[in-house]
């Protein structure tokens, strides 16, 4: 089993005719993802990688019965594309785009309270259920099917941890990059809840980083609601206050909230071992399984 995406997921790629969109749509298809359509205004009637392109998401969903979309649309237009996905009654929208203005995302976040669609991202690598489907830019070949769930605010850090797991023969049910922005659709708790309810996920890796209080809230959630064991990692222990560390969301505020220390303590208090290095996280998972 897996969470959110699998063999049956029928995917629309929003922005499929752009450079990134085209490249990753083809990669997704190559991985075996059931990409059924693209959606790009003005490009209706074209084909990319054998997939028909429609002018609107709605038309793509109508014609190809899609239930998920991946957004590869430049930052200035990405929030609009996400709204289009959310308003089209999909089950899942995955927004890869980095650099969406925060106030655009605040509006999207409001809209999320009004619809049943789940949003992953933005500014995320996407989601993968190894061997079945990937929606996003994750390198499929480093993943292996198995029983560890993975949720992370970061892309390459995820790959680093997955690489350690896979090289030890530990496979994954599903891996989700929730994204490095201050406002995201699915937070740690949202992902952890899904893993907790997935009988095939026997342990979860949670990779956090500085900024916000999402990890602290997740720690509380884990302590109160999870039977599935969790191992953690927090990036940014050495980050100075007030500086944005690459991700728009990775910033320790001047008043000292969002520090790695606070997050590590919260996780430890919740019984979650937090590795000092990525390899230590893989060690913990080996212990927990």
């Amino acid at each position: 089993m897996s969470i959110l995406v699998d063999d049956d997921t029928r995917v629309v790629v929003q922005g499929i005719t752009g450079g990134e969109g085209k490249f990753h749509a083809e990669q997704m298809i190559e991985y075996g993802t059931n990409v059924v359509a693209g959606a790009v205004p003005g490009k209706g009637g074209q084909e990319v990688g054998g997939v028909p392109v429609y002018d609107t998401v709605d038309q793509a969903v109508e014609a190809e019965d899609a239930d998920a979309s991946v957004v590869f649309v430049p930052p200035a237009f990405a929030a609009d594309a996400i709204f289009e996905g959310l308003d089209t009654d999909l089950d899942l929208v995955v927004a890869i785009t980095e650099g969406i203005p925060t106030q655009d995302m605040a509006k999207v976040y409001k809209r999320l309270t009004e619809v049943d669609t789940r949003l992953i991202g933005p500014n995320c690598p996407g989601i993968i259920t190894p061997g079945e489907a990937k929606l996003g830019i994750l390198p499929g070949n480093i993943f292996e099917s198995g029983n560890v769930g993975l949720v992370s605010r970061s892309g390459t850090l995820t790959y680093q941890v997955v690489d350690s797991l896979t090289s030890r023969g530990i496979g994954q049910t599903t891996a989700i990059g929730i994204g490095g922005d201050p406002i995201i659709g699915t937070d740690f708790i949202g992902a952890l809840e899904l893993f907790e309810n997935d009988p095939d996920t026997h342990a979860v890796v949670m990779c956090g980083e500085i900024g916000g209080e999402d990890e602290e809230e997740a720690a509380e959630y884990i302590a109160q609601n999870m039977d599935t064991p969790v191992a953690g990692f927090i990036a940014g222990r050495t980050a100075p206050p007030g500086k944005r560390m690459g991700h728009a969301g990775a910033i320790v505020s001047g008043s000292g909230t969002g520090t790695a220390e606070s997050k590590i303590n919260a996780l430890n208090d919740a019984g979650v071992p937090v590795g000092d290095t990525p390899e230590e996280v893989a060690d913990s998972i080996e212990d927990l399984l």
């Binding site: 680093q160 406002i183 050495t238």
Partner: protein, 382 residues
């Protein structure tokens, strides 16, 4: 992106928020000249992105030309927490009876802007927030509707702002929210908002931080950004399009992906080294970007060694290795030792390709960081 006080005040004043008369000056004579025009007393305020300027001697209240000259001489050119003061704002001193605080920021936990009002302005508001959170009234804003006028009033009345200025303060709050929204603010504050003996309100300081991801639609503010940049290396990073943060250590760090680069910094620290910077070169590793990244790191004279950590995902390791080789071969001599760690797709092939004459190749992240820290310590000892 932070605006300077004088830039923020200009934006506020254009939006109709009352600010004291003021002008920017870059020389001692200019300070005196402006002060004479404004009439004494005036405040001379260092324009650098540093908190607690007053305590650090960056703000001086002067009563006459001699004092103005003296203040200008001491502030212009001074080093304020690592920044050299090149500009001062000369500003009418406000005769106030009360100091308030108003601000708008994004509450990321709620995914909503939040308006803040306090009667306890004029001090470090973050300390107030910590020690007496009740003293700051917060009103969350639904971003689809924007700030309702009643919300501005509610925040003001709940904060106990006196009836005599409540209406004016509510109006400043509304304008501040409009600026936050229209100018893509991430943090917009007035501290203090001074109340005069005539029951007027005046923005005596001004903070305006802009969402960098929104600068594409804020051309006017983007122009101010150039003016506001203070660190040469950070300016260079902007030019190259890198996410770069300068730190105090001597181990330079280059990597791809924010989380992995942060992790590399943390490991440098974990293994006893000191990170010199955060530098994310983003996806792939084309020769040009690698060259630019190395240029950045070597431009920092503190750097004694470099760890280059690339996780090849979609981009294959062999291609990354070729990019790194091409970049390194452009140097006549590599100024400081560089340790490269290559992982992910086709990493082994990539490691084969990397030019051992120019760099030290390591297989694991931990190994690479340890090696770079050793190099840095050796270089530092020389």
């Amino acid at each position: 992106m932070k605006l300077h006080e004088y830039q923020a005040k200009q934006v506020f004043a254009e939006a109709g928020i009352p600010t004291p008369g003021s002008a920017l000056a870059t020389s001692v004579d200019e300070v005196v000249e402006v002060a004479e025009d404004l009439g004494y007393p005036v405040a001379v305020k260092a324009q650098v992105h540093v908190g607690g300027r007053g305590k650090a001697g960056g703000i001086k209240l002067v009563e006459d030309a001699d004092e103005a000259r003296e203040a200008a001489e001491s502030i212009l050119g001074m080093d304020l927490k690592g920044y050299t003061v090149e500009k001062v704002l000369v500003e009418e001193a406000v005769d106030f009876t009360n100091e308030l605080y108003v601000g708008v920021t994004m509450d990321r936990g709620e995914g909503k802007p939040v308006v803040m009002v306090s009667e306890r302005g004029g001090v470090d508001i973050e300390q107030v927030a910590e020690k007496d959170p009740e003293a700051i009234v917060r009103e969350h804003v639904d971003p689809a509707f924007g700030l309702h006028p009643y919300q501005a009033r509610k925040a003001v009345y709940d904060a106990g702002i006196p009836q005599s200025v409540a209406r004016d303060v509510a109006s400043v709050v509304s304008t501040l929210y409009d600026l936050f929204e229209e100018r893509d603010g991430s943090d917009v504050e007035i501290n203090p908002l001074m109340v005069t003996s005539d029951d007027d309100v005046v923005a005596a300081d001004a903070v305006m931080n802009i969402d960098e991801d929104a600068l594409f639609r804020q051309p006017e503010l983007a122009e101010m950004e150039e003016e506001a940049a203070e660190d040469d290396l950070e300016a260079k990073a902007n030019e190259y399009g890198f996410d770069y943060v300068r730190l105090d250590g001597n181990t330079g760090i280059i990597g791809n992906g924010a989380g992995l680069v942060m992790t590399t910094l943390d490991l440098v620290d974990y293994y006893g080294g000191e990170p010199a910077n955060f530098l994310d070169i983003g996806g792939g590793a084309k020769a040009e970007r690698v060259t630019n990244a190395l240029d950045m790191v070597f431009s920092d004279e503190n750097v004694d060694s470099v760890v280059f950590n690339i996780f090849g995902g979609i981009t294959r390791g062999d291609e990354v290795a070729k990019g790194i080789n091409a970049a390194l071969e452009q140097f006549d001599e590599i100024p400081k030792p560089v340790v490269v760690r290559l992982a992910g797709t086709n990493a082994a092939e990539g490691r084969e390709i990397l030019n051992d004459d120019l760099v030290t190749v390591e297989e694991t992240l931990e190994g690479a960081v340890q090696r770079a820290v050793e190099f840095a310590n050796e270089e530092a000892d020389q």
